[in-house]
Symmetry: C2
């Protein structure tokens, strides 16, 4: 037993799925190598709050070196995977070749622009910390530029924000954006006419939050409208340009800000693995989460197409976490010479926040909305957030926002040049309004 | 009185000097336009803690739109000044021409590389939030790369950090960097040999902190050496390359990280003003802080060369703040037809922090060091920080660092590509150390 070489499990991706698998393997007699492009795990469910200038981006990042400290057999390596060689059993990264005995693919998902022309160029995705920061900077820049803009229709364009997709991210971001505008920006830009500000939510389907019961959908739509969000159902985008969103029905919304939350796909292409994927870019797996024809390769989280009762499981953190545990257990079983067991999904429910005191919740057959759902949403997200320090600081941020009705983070890091399309050095400053 | 047009004061730069002037003008019958490149004021005295991954960068940024809210006659504009026309009395920015009756120049200082070849290309300055973030990312990247580096001398080079300049910023950063390394990185990289890590502080003069009494200098040097910093006095840099620092005495320190805190100069060049400056790039001003030959133009803060008793005042926040108040008062006097009064400086003292329970303080003739100075440093910096929210979050960060001996922020935002000079895809991963 002593001289026996430990088998090596390589995990590609340190999202919810990858971390959960690494944690579950901690007590198994294996050595685990966890790979990620970044040296931190991102708590994606709160990412939209970074884009809405409510949270500092660092608070959603949990250092992976800190994660590995607690797990004696786990080693984290910051590396980009360049290629997977499933035959030779080697992962090729930008700085090493890593042989494996077992491989867990958990590289997550990326935005899917569904072949809408212009979307990949002009729409803002919201899947990484950097994307959230750049969206935040862009939104604050739009207000800054609008404050200097003498042309009313240009100003209208700068102050129109279009969110594509009526799923949880779209709904939560729409609510948070209105909160940012009404709580903070309204006071920051006293010369702007806030009647001009428009937050538009476009949903292709006939209801928001399609995965929830009807009454919660109606509640969500009513609440968003009360907040001032223009909700358009059964509305499809045809074309995105730098200046506008063109709708399939011929409509046009002039805007410089299109936020794309309409779809995600498995993030496999970068891995250069010759694995068959479905239309959503997800890898087909057996009920045990093993990849077809490779018994020592598992796919979990957003990248895996797992069907239960004929229905594909949604790309959600709880699904990813549960699959990580199953993959880890099945690897342990394989090492012991036992056969892997099928994955069983326990649906823990759904929570979506809309705004102050407004959220919807579904726990099994129990559904509720309003204040209790709003409290529950915050408690669950705080508890699930990694790191005691991050948890305390996020809580403090939320308390500040709640008490002072003010978003703290309104910093533009000027990565992008200001006033790209509106450089008018000859304009004489109009000092409208505001005299003592 | 009612119909009389208000005179307009334009303030260029929203650092300590500019904000202080704007605040002091709040009760005068003038309209104030405050200009800055960024939409936030940066609390520079804590900047090095961002570079040392101790504080989130957003916590040092105070939104200028929020600042203007409280002051009815102040309007903030985010703009880059392109040119000053002192004859026509117009400030030309990237998006407007702004005529003024009075102008306050408060554009601060930039790093001065004293004509050392390579310094401006390869050394890291520490004057803006972005610079602090990029230095933090670089340092964390060096550890990440060192963990993969099989060559011992390359590893030594990656783990050597050279700070040029033994003034307050150099001393404080050296202490904070050692703290980061010993508290956090030591645990994050269990496979690295920390005997290889070197923090070097180079000082051209014969003592650290030249502005302080002798015994505080000795205390500082002793404390830094105890922490493990290699302090070299009377040591001048001759050349900086990507791989090393070359010293004037012929010595060479292989390193990829040179932090430049050795000198600053007035930040006037960007303004394209034809004003005479001294060797430090500072504008000569009369005792009233008015610029020679322009009675309606004031220069304050780091950009102004103000001599008291034959000695030029240092570039410090308290100097800038007091000058802002004097400039504001003198403008009010000019409007009332009275003549401006000379600036009087009240030296409030000096505080420099070195490490845990170690700091030096000079308050008038009173000097002390150690725990009381350390407490005082933190209290003063917390009180001076702008924004109640920032203050609470910084305090919380400090408490965490103190209690858990752990720097919270250790996030690398991958702006720079990883492993630029060390891309070795064919290297087989060596899994040194760490087996369960």
């Amino acid at each position: 037993m002593k001289a026996r070489k430990l088998q090596r499990v390589v995990i590609v991706g340190a999202g919810f799925a990858g971390l959960s698998a690494a944690r579950a393997l901690a007590r198994s007699p294996v050595e685990v190598v966890l790979l990620d492009r970044n040296n931190y795990h991102t708590f994606l469910p709160l990412l939209y709050q970074v884009a809405a200038a409510k949270l500092e981006p660092e608070l959603l990042a949990y250092p992976l070196h800190r994660f590995q400290r607690k797990l004696a057999n786990v080693r984290f390596l910051m590396a980009s995977v360049k290629r997977l060689d499933l035959v030779e059993q080697v992962v090729v990264t930008n700085n090493a070749l890593i042989p494996y005995d077992f491989l867990i693919l958990a590289s997550g998902s990326t935005e899917k622009f569904s072949e809408i022309p212009g979307a990949s160029t002009y729409a803002f995705p919201l899947k990484t910390l950097e994307q959230a920061i750049s969206l935040r900077n862009h939104i604050l820049n739009c207000f800054e530029r609008a404050a200097h803009e003498p042309n009313a229709s240009r100003r209208q364009q700068l102050l129109t924000f279009v969110i594509v997709g009526g799923g949880p991210t779209g709904v939560e971001f729409a609510g948070a954006l209105v909160e940012l505008i009404c709580s903070t920006l309204l006071k920051d830009y006293p010369t702007l006419d806030f009647q001009q500000v428009r937050v538009v939510l476009l949903q292709a389907g006939s209801s928001l939050l399609p995965h929830l019961p009807k009454w919660l959908q109606t509640y969500t739509e009513r609440k968003l409208r009360q907040l001032g969000v223009a909700v358009y159902l059964k509305t499809r985008v045809n074309l995105v340009t730098q200046e506008a969103v063109h709708l399939l029905d011929g409509g046009l919304i002039p805007t410089e800000t299109v936020i794309w939350t309409a779809g995600v796909q498995g993030n496999l292409s970068d891995l250069m693995a010759r694995l068959p994927t479905d239309s959503a870019g997800q890898v087909a797996v057996k009920p045990s989460l093993q990849v077809e024809s490779y018994n020592n390769v598992y796919a979990i989280g957003d990248i895996a197409a797992v069907k239960l009762d004929g229905q594909k499981l949604p790309m959600l953190a709880p699904v990813a976490i549960q699959q990580g545990i199953t993959a880890a257990r099945n690897i342990a079983r394989q090492i012991e010479g036992r056969s892997p067991l099928p994955f069983r999904y326990q649906n823990l429910g759904n929570l979506v926040i809309i705004g102050r005191h407004a959220a919807v919740a579904q726990l099994g057959k129990l559904t509720f909305a309003g204040f209790p759902a709003w409290v529950l949403w915050q408690v669950v997200h705080l508890v699930k957030l990694s790191g005691f320090r991050n948890r305390c600081l996020v809580l403090m941020n939320w308390i500040f926002c709640y008490l002072f009705r003010e978003h703290g983070v309104s910093l533009v890091l000027p990565k992008e040049p200001m006033l790209t399309s509106a450089l008018r050095p000859q304009l004489l400053l109009r000092l409208h309004g505001k005299t003592p």
